[in-house]
């Protein structure tokens, strides 16, 4: 009797994530993207799988407060990190200000891209590099809206910049921008 050929096993890897404030211990296969983990295993279906290639931004989530495409990272690479999805943005006092701004500015039509748009906008605000409408549009360009709600999205995000007290710098002083 001959020896059977060797078998390559792919053991799951133990990781710990803080998901919307709740610590979770998980065992995941190496090839599971963060997006698939959220959607298929943890019932957090807010982040959407639009293109699965980092082109549409519908899967945008916050990792330690930084916006990334959850389809282009492996869950095992995020061990120990804190993940915030659209489901984790609203607090005890109600909606996150960016969520409220999207409602106030009618910044969606079908809504499919909205969780990614809102997470992206929250990340944008934390980054602090957008001071005017042009910069909002440029720094929201990783989020596609096929309904074309871009003017309203830019208004919604822009209103949050004003609320956050990030005064617009003198745009005319910076080459490469349209003078106000």
């Amino acid at each position: 009797m001959s020896t059977p050929p060797p078998v390559t096993a792919y053991p799951g890897i133990a990781i710990t994530l803080t998901l919307n404030g709740v610590r979770r211990e998980l065992i995941v296969e190496p090839w599971v993207t963060l997006l698939d983990l959220l959607r298929e295993r943890l019932d957090l279906t807010g982040a959407k799988k639009g293109c699965d290639h980092g082109q549409c931004g519908a899967c945008t989530v916050l990792i330690d407060g930084v916006r990334i495409n959850s389809c282009l990272t492996l869950a095992v690479m995020q061990d120990g990190r804190s993940i915030t999805t659209i489901e984790g943005l609203a607090g005890a006092e109600g909606l996150h200000p960016v969520q409220q701004a999207f409602i106030d500015h009618d910044a969606l039509q079908c809504g499919y891209c909205t969780p990614g748009q809102i997470c992206s906008a929250v990340g944008l605000l934390a980054e602090g590099h957008a001071h005017d409408r042009d910069q909002v549009r440029e720094l929201m360009s990783g989020n596609i809206c096929r309904c074309g709600a871009y003017p309203q999205i830019a208004s919604a995000v822009g209103s949050c910049i004003d609320q956050a007290g990030q005064a617009a710098e003198d745009a005319s002083a910076r080459p490469g921008t349209v003078p106000a």
């Binding site: 980092g54 282009l72 690479m77 944008l124 590099h129 910069q135 990783g142 080459p175 921008t177 349209v178």
Partner: protein, 344 residues
């Protein structure tokens, strides 16, 4: 994606050892993963083992004063672009990084990964078609196919792909050096020698050894260019698209207004950022006027040839070089807002 194993390397030598391990299928390094995972999902790349190097290589950005600056391999593109020292001393690099990808991708992508990203040739991405880069010996569907985004310089019968990076175009102009470590120790690769032309081995994008790991990117002091630099990117939409043509241009001016030094590199036109030092040297001592810039463009684009759909790139590149040099003469463009005059 094919199934694979995953390990985290705690030190650079650990990553080198993983790469050197024998076997039919390669181990690959992963840092951001924004390009590798994309390619693995569609089957254009595969791996038996992914080695996470985020904790294994430096992620610091170190100002070395008169010796320039050292950018850690694992530092994120966004962190690099917005770093106050990078913005002040190397505004060309900051502008180039910010012209590329999306904020989400720049937040995830590493500096070394930016250098090692693969071409966005549609045929490389489509395993149903012939591609010598993806599948050596299978042919090149792009040569007679839809080659609008493809190379006009330095290509070969085997491959007409372009290198897609914006960051690398600035690094070429800034004469960066890629610091690597491998089984034989550390070495530095001048940027002009890092990316290859395709020749008859288009599967090799770079001169990095198969078991070498990038640890950092070293920039020489280039402060004389900080006041006059521009990264102009021409693309099919205003943001978040790969370049049809991009230009990194930097000038240092004499007190009499003539050009003391010039740096010029073009992206989107070849298998590597295209730089012709003679085109820069010919500008020295000249006035920063259109004739001077047009002559530089002619010199840089010598030998350019189209493959049909990309014929337009030759005049586009010529005009883009002139415009980028004019922008650099005007001041420093940081690419943090809408390009002037592009939309109301």
């Amino acid at each position: 994606m094919n199934p694979f194993h995953y390990v985290r390397a705690g030190a650079t030598q650990e990553a080198v050892a993983q790469l050197a391990r024998p076997g039919e299928h390669p181990a690959r390094l992963i840092a951001g993963g924004t390009n590798l995972l994309d390619l693995m999902k569609i089957g254009a790349m595969s791996a038996e083992l992914l080695v996470d190097v985020n904790a294994a290589v430096p992620d610091a950005l170190r100002d070395a004063g008169a010796n320039g600056m050292v950018l850690g391999a694992a530092a994120r593109n966004a962190v690099t672009a917005y770093d106050p020292v990078v913005k002040r001393r190397y505004p060309l690099l900051s502008a180039a990084i910010l012209a590329g990808a999306s904020p989400q991708i720049r937040n995830a992508a590493s500096n070394a990964g930016n250098l090692l990203q693969r071409t966005r040739c549609y045929y490389f991405y489509d395993p149903a078609t012939a591609c010598n880069k993806r599948d050596p010996g299978s042919g090149c569907a792009a040569r007679t196919g839809v080659n609008r985004q493809h190379a006009i310089l330095g290509f070969s019968p085997s491959c007409i792909a372009t290198h897609p990076s914006d960051m690398c175009v600035a690094l070429a102009a800034l004469e960066a050096r890629v610091q690597v470590t491998g089984p034989a120790g550390d070495r530095e690769i001048p940027f002009a020698e890092f990316h290859r032309l395709p020749g008859d081995r288009p599967e090799l994008d770079t001169t990095l050894g198969p078991d070498e790991v990038i640890t950092a990117i070293a920039l020489p002091a280039m402060d004389q260019f900080a006041g006059h630099s521009a990264y102009l990117k021409v693309r099919d939409r205003l943001s978040y698209a790969f370049a049809l043509v991009s230009v990194a241009a930097a000038l240092a001016l004499n007190e009499d207004g003539t050009i003391a030094q010039a740096r010029l590199a073009v992206g989107g036109v070849a298998h590597r950022p295209w730089r012709v030092p003679a085109a820069e040297e010919a500008m020295v001592g000249q006035l920063p006027v259109e004739d001077t810039f047009a002559a530089a463009a002619e010199s840089l684009l010598q030998g350019a040839r189209g493959s049909g759909f990309n014929d337009f790139k030759i005049p586009l590149a010529r005009r883009s070089v002139v415009r980028a040099l004019q922008m650099a003469h005007e001041g420093t463009y940081d690419n943090t807002g809408a390009p002037r005059g592009q939309h109301p």
